[in-house]
Symmetry: C2
Subunit: 641 residues, 2 copies
Amino acid sequence: METHPSLAVKWSCPDLTIYAGEVTIGEEDRNKMDSKKRKLEKTRITEAACALLNSGGGLIAMQMTNKSEHPVEMGQDLEKSLRELIMSPNMQAFFETKQQEDQFYIFVKSWSCRPEDGSTKPRICSLGSSLYCRSITSKVAMDSREAFEFLKDKKACIKYRPTDDGAPPAKIPRAMCQNSLESNPAFEIFQSKKLEYGQCLLFSESTSIEFKQFSTKHVQAYMKNIIPEYISAFANTQGGYLFIGVDDKRIILGCPKDNVDRDSLKTVANETISKVPVFHFCSSKDKDKVSYETRVIDVFQEGNLYGYLCVIKVEPFCCAVFSEAPISWMVDKEKGVYRLNTEEWVRMMVDFGPEASSKDLSKDFECQLSLCNSPPHCRPVYSKKGLQHKVDLQQRLFQVSPDCLKYTPESLWKELCSQHKRLKGLVKQQIRSFSCGLLILYRSWAVDLNLKEKQEVICDALLIAQNSPPILYTILGEQDEQGQDYCNHTAFTLKQKLVNTGGYTGRVCVMTKVLCLSSQNNIETNGGSVSPINYPSSYNLANIQEMQDLLQALVIVLLNFRSFLSDQLGCEILNLLTAQQYEILSKSLRKTRELFVHGLPGSGKTIIAMKIMEKIRNTFHCETDSILYICENQPLRDFIR
Amino acid sequence: METHPSLAVKWSCPDLTIYAGEVTIGEEDRNKMDSKKRKLEKTRITEAACALLNSGGGLIAMQMTNKSEHPVEMGQDLEKSLRELIMSPNMQAFFETKQQEDQFYIFVKSWSCRPEDGSTKPRICSLGSSLYCRSITSKVAMDSREAFEFLKDKKACIKYRPTDDGAPPAKIPRAMCQNSLESNPAFEIFQSKKLEYGQCLLFSESTSIEFKQFSTKHVQAYMKNIIPEYISAFANTQGGYLFIGVDDKRIILGCPKDNVDRDSLKTVANETISKVPVFHFCSSKDKDKVSYETRVIDVFQEGNLYGYLCVIKVEPFCCAVFSEAPISWMVDKEKGVYRLNTEEWVRMMVDFGPEASSKDLSKDFECQLSLCNSPPHCRPVYSKKGLQHKVDLQQRLFQVSPDCLKYTPESLWKELCSQHKRLKGLVKQQIRSFSCGLLILYRSWAVDLNLKEKQEVICDALLIAQNSPPILYTILGEQDEQGQDYCNHTAFTLKQKLVNTGGYTGRVCVMTKVLCLSSQNNIETNGGSVSPINYPSSYNLANIQEMQDLLQALVIVLLNFRSFLSDQLGCEILNLLTAQQYEILSKSLRKTRELFVHGLPGSGKTIIAMKIMEKIRNTFHCETDSILYICENQPLRDFIR
Ligand SMILES: [Zn+2]
Ligand SMILES: [Zn+2]
């Protein structure tokens, strides 16, 4: 895993924040910059944006090197680069900027390709695909969308190619059969033993022929630099010949023998090509690399050896050939900003989920979250046919009504209020300005998000209210230094899951607030503000529709479990618990320490038991080795281990 | 209709040929050209290619200004421009080039968007959409694909917007409601009576604010030039303010009063905006133009009037606003090369056929040719459910078998051979080198293609054979000067219909050959060659699959008729005759002059009668006024009239 050298992930707010260092902001000042420095800054910010788009969204924080009292625009070069990243001029859909004194922020929403666009955008954003193709006499770098279409075609092509009992599928694409490299006019030159300096070739550049000539003495560096892109272009198109030592006018000049020797020319070409990454959709897996042959041909001038012509013959490839690993980034609070490798990148680009491949699934299950327009990390979510939909589940568990702010579950609210005298007043004061929404109470949200519980927490309350962002209140008995960290960590995990598991595609950040029953004046630990950075008002939930969308994502977060079908289908899919299963889980754990799960075969006992074991681990801080569990169920045991 | 000033349509060969005049070919020589001239040439060739792509394909013929003995590549600028036109680096899919002495040819295949690409390319190619949008501080020209997605979104948006009993749908898109132009910081300046020269504005450029400043004295020309693109960008996004007279640093400079007066500033702005083309998907039709307001504000310097600040406030638009008519071309042998107007262009761009809108259609009819991957001029084709498919029809009427060259219909061949002694030998000699395919005989192909019959023609024979392009033989009794013209015209019409009606998406040109029974040596009128231009071998039918595809297109050409459903659905769709109906039509007309069509109601009597009337008109060269027909059938009468 390649970690980014200059992008740091910050911990100070409940969102994924990348600190991009010092940056000059504004068209006018950026135009005055040294162009190399400007390009470096631009790349850094684009990489940060790419990582956030691919990982659920977040915030890029920059220190402005230039001062401005008034709000400033970013600068044309930055805008252009971000526009290319999202493959659309509609920047407003993913980015929002804000200047706060000398800090400049770019708020980044999670990537998702809207279905209105026909879903032909890839599932992730990239700065470059490193995939090339030939377009008559040019080598063209495929942009993200072209790369996506190329990969889709290749994948589809392989899928429908017949294989007889495990034999590897035919390697040569249809279109190529009639067009062998041996019938190319370049083949004769490729087979020559010697050539004359200054001779003019009788064929011109074409889809399968490229001439290169150079004046540098650093032949090896030059070759390492140019070869990978041409190999990718020829192999991805219909194969061809790369001539190194022929100029644009088709004159053979060769590489002078003083600059390089015969063997090293061949060695550097072969070594460079051996490093070119490939990806197979077909059964060849990684073992088969690009098929090629390098020949170094003597070039004579007036009877004396002048130098060498290097010709590389590249065969068309069954699948995809890259010049280097594709350029795409992700971010993770633990791992930081890291670059995807070729394999990960291709899998994320062409991830469509199991819809098309599995007829069984569509017979027995209903799709609740498909991949075609959900954020990059999402897995497909299904519920069993005939059971409740995510919409029904949200209506049953988290119903919102206009002009009404409700507490849920009511029983827990009453129980908590009877245990803690000041709780009622404290919470009421906080939420008095909101008139429509839900306050969702939990003994601890952390447990349900698979985080460790904090003993001092009386309860966590998640406010989903109109004209407000979601707010997570952590209510403590006594002041606690770690309270804000706990609250931030829980809120951050929740937000990530809402997007990356729940598939929420709106703008979202879960704000945090720590409340303390013992203190007279509840001044929040971060100085009165919910977040140190004022989020734009577009992060507020504007209406009931947006609240319901978010609550449906929450249903998926809380009720999903990995389906046993995942192994069968070879791709991870999630199922949903029923409301009944969820209610058992959310109530019974603290009331009793003995719980028998009984029911008919197939009614979901194992699933419930597994979820309970997971909660026990989080609630009581157990290490895996220190739980004694007795079961006769194989998946349950494997999961807990 | 705007006809192209410098592109001529030639008549010398049986394909659509555009003569693009003198052109410099080859990277090296093009780089030496005057850049203005080079750009003009590039545009001319790209426009010719656009016209051919949109009209069924054809040939661009150029006279090379430079000489080269060896085959040359086109030149990077031409390649790039053609690549942008087809929205893909895969140039080989649509273009092929050939140099023949000092003539340079570009063979252009008909445009079609492959379904593998997810069908997200528009149905036609364009050099520019003339559609703009705002992308933060930039005005961005939408490329053809972005324009397509924008139009699709707008169309979908209108469709699902509720209307109460004929009332026009709400004009303001959803996203705009929260973001009125009156709450914009620029609104205060817009309302000012006077401003101070050198004053700095307290807001910066944004999605809805643009500052323009200029040093030219030709204020009016400048404004006419810049305004349309900004109007389009603001109106298509979320509206905004265009400030003319504010520099990049937000300083109010104004237009000096010496260069322009108050009234003319306002007049030129308003006149320019009134000419901006719009297209409505909603019920507003053409009556509603862009909503805007122009204000000219006095700028004072030290108490004296210095000049004027012009501010244009543009409201967001319900549908699409263009800076000028989109840039896209079509070609027609009669009309020449012509530019589409805005209305035609939008309709062709977003033409999806009736699939999505009509459930009745999918219940009773089966789709034989959908629009999603067929050439631009195609109409959807259906057959009644339960009747034969185009594949079945082709198998029944035009079956091809490996290693066998068949004559069809056999009865006609026998009849012709018995009437004309030398016919058998003459035809056999022509087709002796082909071993697999079909020779389709007709008394006259012209009649079936809705052209006028030529009395001197004994028969027309269409050869569809492997390793050959389709060839149309016209067999005459005596030498005839107009024979080749007739054959060319018939072959050209057939080729156009195979692509534009039949939906054939392969490379195709129908070659011609006139044979004469009376002459001893059958030297073809064009000098021994089937076509004056040697088409590349990719125009040959490579295998049985390609022959079947072409024959299925032929089935649609010969058996289609305009469906009565067309009027109901508000878009033209075609139905197919049954094989039986077709056989009645193709046999009975010459044998008898009296024909009674009888059958059960709904069995297709009217359709047959209409097709027969059409044939009578073509066979006997009748003018519409000179046919006496007696019928009690309304559509039949209307059609014949
Ligand atoms: Zn492979
Ligand atoms: Zn409209």
